[in-house]
Symmetry: C2
Subunit: 283 residues, 2 copies
């Protein structure tokens, strides 16, 4: 496989990953960059090829804050310190590890806010939510999980609950209001933390936050600080994908919209729980 | 076909109608009763068979207020006035006609509250919404329509918009919050009007009402007064259907919930618009 084919394969995989959260996609991109740098047929003079690929990866998913942040950190390190391919590959994998630890620490901090026996409602799928429920499975708890159309990442969350033997109700997105009365709190991940304290996450998150507010119950966001960006809600480009993903009939005068992400304003969020309770040192 | 087979066929059709609104289902039941009464092989002594069938129809869909109301009116008339089969059949069809007129009058009253050029967001499907958009298609307006999982009645609403050539965006239920900023108001039908001013409608209606409130935009309910019942929200039996309808994977420890209806509390409703602006006389 040529360098160009390797790069194209990675770009395609990142562009079309609709099922993972932003943190996991960033780790996928870093691991891919490490693989790229490890290819034996690359010459030392080609490190700028790898940097170009990193910038293309950033541009291809503009809504993915961790992709911007982690690849930005990697790019600065590679370019400022004139790293070799081997060093650049190793640094990418260090950042993957660092990101995984941040996820685990965020989930640990979140667990401290949940009483045993609680019913937690969540929406979509994210690495922090996975970590959180792995921890929660050690004491009695229950979950309510939404489908999260059109990608149905909620089915994956439900599979996790099944593996962890956590009693769980799976509902349509439309039912999140009526089922909230059976929940003690909502916890979701995030794709971006914005400057004004609002967050960006999968469409439907805003409705869940409104339902939490109406029920006077807490609405938590659990994620790593790598999701932080210096943007206000009005400056955020929210990804829209192909309407065909809905599987709806194609009709004259009807435009099928498939907005993946939306903003949850700060005033609806009880707390954004990150790894900062126990800070790490950047590798 | 025997009388019993006729009755069973009608009961089956009413029990399994998941796509029509409550008003249309009540009219379907009345038309079926008229057919039943018109069968030549029924003897005059059998009118109580028809009354029994009417009561079974009422019990089979307890959440359907118009079924309770319209069949209740029919039963009183048949039993108090000792109607013949021919008279009972005619009365059922008069009630069908009366109900249709109430739908048309409700929609006419609603239109007066919508400025030309408005963008109206709606959820699910109902006879009043159909009538409303037929009227609205005569001036410029736009629509935003949700899928309304799991039955996807929203596809039917989108088909109507397509036929009426009304520019329309079709969205997942999860997107109703983020798209509300593009709407001027929400209008939905209802399956029940409750004593305290709250209403019962398809799951997702409550979320739409919360989104309207958050956007400080009106949330209208348009339906006939036949949907009125003397119940408070805590007394309402909300239909739950088979979780298989979701098409989700079957997993250990996971219970798939399919609650069809939910309550929208009165304080979220701008106005319930009915035919009472121009009252009719009961046939």
């Amino acid at each position: 496989m040529t360098n160009d084919q390797l790069a194209q394969r990675l770009l395609y995989a990142i562009q079309n990953n609709r099922v993972d959260g932003a943190g996991q996609i960033a780790r996928q991109a870093l691991s891919g960059l490490a693989d790229y740098c490890s290819q034996a047929h690359l010459t030392e003079g080609d490190i700028q090829q790898a940097c170009r690929l990193a910038r293309q990866l950033q541009r291809i998913r503009p809504s993915m804050a961790p992709l911007q942040q982690l690849l930005g950190t990697w790019l600065r390190e590679v370019e400022q310190n004139d790293l070799s391919f081997a060093q650049a590959a190793a640094h990418a994998m260090q950042l993957v590890q660092y990101s995984k630890e941040a996820v685990a620490r965020s989930a640990s901090a979140m667990v401290q806010r949940i009483k045993p026996g609680s019913v937690v409602i969540t929406h979509s799928w994210s690495s922090t939510i996975r970590e959180l429920f792995c921890l929660l499975s050690q004491w009695p708890c229950q979950a309510i999980v939404t489908e999260s159309r059109p990608g149905c990442e909620g089915y994956r969350t439900a599979e996790l609950m099944s593996e962890l033997e956590i009693p769980c109700r799976l509902i349509t997105d439309a039912q999140m209001g009526v089922w909230f009365e059976n929940a003690d709190m909502a916890v979701i991940g995030a794709d971006m933390l914005l400057e004004d304290g609002s967050i960006v996450n999968k469409a439907g998150s805003y409705l869940l936050a409104l339902a939490a507010k109406a029920a006077n119950k807490p609405f938590y966001v659990c994620c790593e600080t790598f999701k932080q960006v210096d943007l206000l809600p009005s400056m955020v480009e929210l990804e829209q994908h192909n309407g065909n993903e809905l599987g709806a009939p194609s009709l004259a005068h009807i435009e099928i919209k498939n907005q993946y992400f939306e903003v949850v304003p700060a005033h609806l969020i009880t707390e954004v729980v990150t790894e900062q309770a126990s800070p790490q040192k950047l590798p």
